[in-house]
């Protein structure tokens, strides 16, 4: 498993648009499970509404866990995505 931490800079947090884009992004990596962890809550990153209901805000640090055959490259891609959109 590959994991990294990221602190949200978007003023609205993980709102509908980037959450949607994130789900879209992750769908490109079939076979890899992506989990978003914040505090004691975690969610399968493919579950759009559950992800939004985590209420992740600006300044929150999340942990992204990737498990699967290309976890290194998938983690790197997701990190780039977060930097560009959130």
């Amino acid at each position: 498993m590959k994991s990294f931490e990221y602190t949200i800079t978007d003023p609205v947090g993980i709102h509908a648009r980037p959450a949607g884009l994130l789900v879209k992004e992750i769908k490109n990596f079939a076979g890899n499970a992506v989990t978003i962890v914040k505090g004691d809550k975690s969610v399968n990153a493919l579950k759009l509404m559950a992800l939004m209901q985590m209420g992740i805000k600006q300044g929150d640090t999340i942990t992204v866990q990737v498990e699967g055959p290309n976890e290194d490259s998938v983690a790197a891609a997701i990190e780039n995505f977060l930097k560009a959109n959130l």
Partner: protein, 559 residues
Amino acid sequence: MIIIQGKGVSAGVAGGPLYFYRRAENTLRRYEPEDREAEWERFKAAQAKAVEQLGDLAEKARIEAGDDAAMLFETHQMMCEDLDLEEAVESFIKESGINAEAAVADACAMQAEAFAAMDDDYFRARAADVKDISGRLVGILAGVVQGGIDSDVPVILASDDLAPSETIQLDKSKILGFVTSGGSGSSHTAILARTMGIPAIIGVGEQLKEEYEGRPVIADGSIGNVVVDPDEETAAKLMKKREEILKRQEMLKALKGQPNVTKDGQSIRIYCNIGNPEDVPPVLENDGGGIGLFRSEFLYLNCDDFPTEDYQFEAYKKVLSDMGGKEVVIRTMDIGADKQIGYFDLPKEENPALGNRALRICLNRPEIFHTQLRALFRASAYGRLSIMFPMVTSVWEVREAKAACEQVKKELTEEGTPFSDEVDLGIMIETPAAAVISDRLAKEVDFFSIGTNDLTQYTLACDRQNNNLGRFFNAHHPAVLRLIKLVAENAHKNGIWCGICGELGADLELTETFLSMGLDELSVSPRAVLPLRQKVRETEVAACRERLMGELMGDRTED
């Protein structure tokens, strides 16, 4: 015969049967189906259908309003396929044994509640998105009529008010007019009606009764009334009015593609005033030659916080690319005076019209100006952009604004971000000071556009929002007209163009005067383009110039 009185927000007369807009929620049925597996399959089919519909809507929105608008529908698409939602529906159908409609409604209600319970306004508002997809899925399952209109013939559509997602999917070929119990002049229904050129009457409240469904009505948008079961005489009278309006519109349509040239060969550009990227289709529909005034402050008024550079960039880019290379004059934000915004946090002023507004705010708070200029120059790569600064009184202000533009261009060059090298810079002439020193200002800029509403208010010392000033507020006052003449002359002496973007531009009583002054451009609301073109084409400048200018400049005493 019953007469319903409301507020007309889109002119025109139309007659047809009255039908109420059908929302899916009204038709939710709850029962226990015999075959649970088949019920689950029915849900899967409806889900696929919803995803397909939303995909189509996203594409439509992308064409009509850009990527951001499309993303809304794409997010809904993903919500329809949400794994938690799907699991909940599956368990309701297969384990609790209820029908698919009820299962969807219950599962969505759970999700909506979860959003509604969040401690952040933004996320709480997402409950509405879940309800929207719930309505869509239930609608498909229950076989609700596509587009919400249950009629084979075109109708006068009645509703409370329509949401954006509802107006975008209406079958427009089936709508002759709108009647709404709620709504406002700037609601989506009103905007859609004006764009379609059909009557809309809003705010009729409880006068609109379900029992009128299917009965013949005539809607008259010009006076804001709807006649239910009109008698023969009324119907004949209104239909005659309709014929006349249509005939006039048809005649004006023949002017599309025709030049704005007077009988003796003088031409003038007729451009349009807009406030949003969504206002572009009517400009093209009415054959506007360009955008003479894009009031960028509406982007600020639509936001709860300062609009970001990217948000502004997308809006400007959309207008520029939709206008396909025609000139687009974007006015930097004109906040202050009658347009106050909370997040600007401006100190309260005794005299806001004479206070910190427009360019003054921009020069005092360069970070706000800088964001807008960056967005504008980035967008300049996508069309023919001109930038215009409002509320100028001195030459130094213009120089400072130009320096801010140079700074932005330098940054963009260093970043390697593309922008156009041919962005014209102009100013609004709306203060007497600017008009009087327009000879000097003309040496600083590429064009002038006269804002007649403010020029009148400042020249005549008359508050334009004070309804008690009536006859004192006279935009035809010779002082105002002489200033316009002076500005045009100073512009031409210095080889730059001069136009009008205030209400006066569309005033057909002054068209001959403006042509006589040699104005180069008039910017008006889209629906005023063709009537103005007609007036221009009927005018012979040589026949009226001497008389009009003599009257304006001569020593008469009666004004």
